[in-house]
């Protein structure tokens, strides 16, 4: 190929960016390599700037599936003995190891990253046996607020969280993402705007088995954070997205709200829309806005939230950030753009733009080939077909 001369009067050095998101779920629970998700997120290279990328993998630790996988990032490696002592006195340690990684050109000063597969001692008389999740949350918060330069940034059963400062292809190479198999994968390519690009500030943000990847800005961060602190959640990662992970945990685990209702808390319908709703639905939305006004997430956002058995895409109510959804076979795809989905799966049975504030929900055991899922469908979304099935 002969050399190309640029005849560009306008000099397109100015590149417009935003974060990039992608999530892929196999609704039968079949696990697949991280190869595809890497291909997808790398395709959206324009959306990031090298200051953060990360991956979440569900079902990637089958040998320790019943253990909480505590992923710990040590920005100060000398604090490791102290943190390990805390882990040992709080949990039964089944296995621990440094998270395997490869030397990767261009990655600077990666922190020490370790993972601990732990169980909660069921015979501990000092602990409420009904509330194992609360116990784990309290221990995560205790470590993260201890000022040790150590952060538990992943704490789910059979959930891997891999993230750092770098381009997606670098973070993927560093952690060897294609070597893991999972049935839900989410990934993020970061273009930080208001908060620093550091290893802990890369997405996904996680607590228990919740993970969140996010494109946008949480203008209501202060309000959301103060409310969550009253509920025992402490923000330590210096990034707005963190409140989304804790809000998901509070609303859907602790308060046991269905996803559809939690979505109406975080991205509530506008008052003019509520006025037009049938009486009962309008009353529900009004009540949610009153009870959870401090968890309304204001500002432009698209998120992909996941937990065991479920992957959810949601945008703000007036859709100021992009999200494309698609299905093919047993796979549900969510991404900031269509191209990365096509790169993974050139054939798609449906592609659509979800309506702002209405969640797209993928669940284990659901069917993606329902009658209302025609290619023309604009608002039809995968909906619950079966109750949440256990994974294992």
């Amino acid at each position: 190929m002969r050399p190309i001369s640029y005849e560009n009067w306008y000099n397109d050095d100015k590149v417009y960016d935003a974060c990039g998101l992608i999530g892929v779920m196999d609704v039968t629970g079949e696990r697949f390599s991280g190869h595809d998700i890497v291909k997808g997120i790398v395709n959206m290279t324009e959306r990031g700037n090298g200051l953060g990328s990360g991956f979440a993998a569900y079902g990637c630790y089958p040998e320790h599936a019943d253990c909480y996988a505590l992923h710990v990032m040590y920005t100060e490696s000398e604090s490791r003995p102290q943190v390990e002592a805390l882990i040992n006195e709080s949990f039964i340690l089944v296995h621990d190891e440094e998270v395997p990684h490869n030397p990767t050109p261009g990655l600077h000063h990666p922190p020490l990253i370790w993972r601990y597969f732990v169980r909660v001692d069921e015979s501990d008389p000092n602990r409420d046996p009904q509330d194992e999740s609360e116990y784990v949350v309290s221990k995560v918060m205790a470590v993260n607020t201890a000022g040790l330069g150590a952060y538990i940034y992943g704490s789910g059963k059979d959930v891997g969280v891999f993230k750092g400062v770098g381009h997606p292809e670098q973070i993927a190479e560093f952690f060897g993402i294609p070597e893991y198999d999972a049935y839900i994968w989410t990934a993020h390519n970061r273009f930080p705007t208001n908060t620093p690009g550091w290893w802990g500030g890369a997405h996904p943000f996680a607590l228990l088995d919740w993970t969140v990847v996010h494109n946008g800005e949480v203008s209501s961060y202060g309000t959301n954070r103060r409310y969550l602190e009253m509920q025992g959640y402490h923000c330590t990662m210096h990034t707005d997205t963190e409140v989304m992970a804790y809000a998901a945990d509070l609303l859907m685990r602790r308060h046991n709200l269905p996803v559809e209702v939690a979505a109406k808390v975080m991205a509530p319908p506008l008052w003019v829309e509520i006025e037009r709703m049938p009486a009962q639905e309008g009353q529900l939305c009004r009540t949610l806005r009153q009870v959870y006004s401090s968890l309304l997430v204001n500002g432009p956002f698209t998120i992909i939230v996941a937990r065991q058995g479920e992957m959810i895409g949601l945008t703000d109510r007036i859709r100021l950030r992009p999200l494309t959804a698609a299905t093919q076979g047993n796979r549900l795809y969510l991404a900031s753009e269509e191209a990365p989905i096509r790169l993974i799966s050139p054939q798609l049975s449906r592609v659509w733009t979800p309506v702002g504030g209405e969640p797209v929900i993928g669940r284990l055991g659901m069917s993606l080939d329902r009658e209302d899922a025609s290619p023309q469908s604009r608002t039809a979304q995968p909906r619950q077909a079966h109750a949440l099935a256990p994974v294992g």
Binding site: I4, S5, Y6, E7, N8, W9, Y10, D12, N43, M44, E46, V272, E273, R276, I318, R319, P322, T324, E337, E338, A339, P340, R342, L343, V351, T353, V355, G356, Q376, R378, T379
Partner: protein, 251 residues
């Protein structure tokens, strides 16, 4: 459309958008009549900064801001387009054999965009016109919210051909902040779907003439019977004020 004097095939699979656009500039300079881009996966700004007629066929999924600032070429997308297609486009034509994303026709100043199926949010946002420059966006399917937001000129047509019998357009806040141009929407709209700044007025002969032309072109591109499409009633929307926010910050 340029007469095809020579043709060029480009495999885009390993090319960054800058390389791809450089190749397109080169093709225009060399007087190539038709370029086929294969394996396009998300490369942005395709067709930008091209100032002469050329026919570009895109096979795959072009990235955001397709045809942005484009001035003359004719682009055919054999697939779907993403967000911001036709951003500030000056002249030429984009024909999309599929759907398109948010903000299609964003700030467009001239030329035409035809989308066979549906589009996302904020289509034709701040589209504008000046003297002979009058852009047109024709959507075969339906659109999502904030259709024609802050529209300042040009023609926006929504045909609703993908709606099933009895199904209505879902778009709300249509024409919010609109202060120029005209919208024609085939199918019924409720009052609440309209932004505060637009009103519905009856169609006149000039409107029908304009629609006949655009619907005819749509059918030439994608098939369909123009007479059948035109036989259904259209809603014509125009701005109620040329300066809707003139008093917003003045007391």
């Amino acid at each position: 459309m340029a007469e095809v004097t020579s043709a060029l095939e480009i495999d885009a699979s390993s090319l960054h958008y800058r390389e791809l656009n450089a190749r397109l500039r080169e093709a225009v300079r060399d007087g190539v009549g038709r370029v086929d881009l294969h394996n396009v996966y998300g490369q942005r700004y395709l067709g930008t900064d091209l100032h002469r007629p050329i026919e570009i066929h895109i096979h795959g999924t072009p990235g955001n801001d397709l045809a942005s600032f484009m001035d003359g070429p004719h682009i055919v997308v054999h697939g779907n387009a993403q967000d911001g297609c036709g951003n500030t486009m000056n002249s030429g034509e984009v024909v999309i054999h599929g759907r398109a994303g948010d903000a299609t026709g964003h700030s467009m100043r001239g030329g035409k965009i035809f989308v066979r199926d549906d589009v996302g949010y904020r289509v034709a946002i701040h589209m504008k016109e000046y003297e002979e420059q009058r852009p047109a966006v024709v959507i075969g399917g339906t659109a999502q919210h904030f259709l024609g937001e802050y529209m300042a000129g040009g023609v926006l047509v929504v045909l609703g051909l993908t709606l099933r019998p009895g199904e209505r357009h879902i778009a709300n806040f249509i024409g919010t902040g609109m202060h120029g141009g005209v919208m024609y929407i085939r199918g019924e709209l409720a009052d609440y779907q309209l932004g505060k700044e637009v009103g519905s007025v009856p169609l006149e002969d000039d409107d029908r003439h304009l629609l006949e032309g655009l619907v005819g072109e749509y059918a030439d591109h994608f098939g369909g019977d123009p007479a059948a499409i035109l036989s259904q009633p259209f809603t014509k929307l125009v701005p109620l004020s040329l300066r809707p926010y003139g008093q917003l910050y003045a007391y």
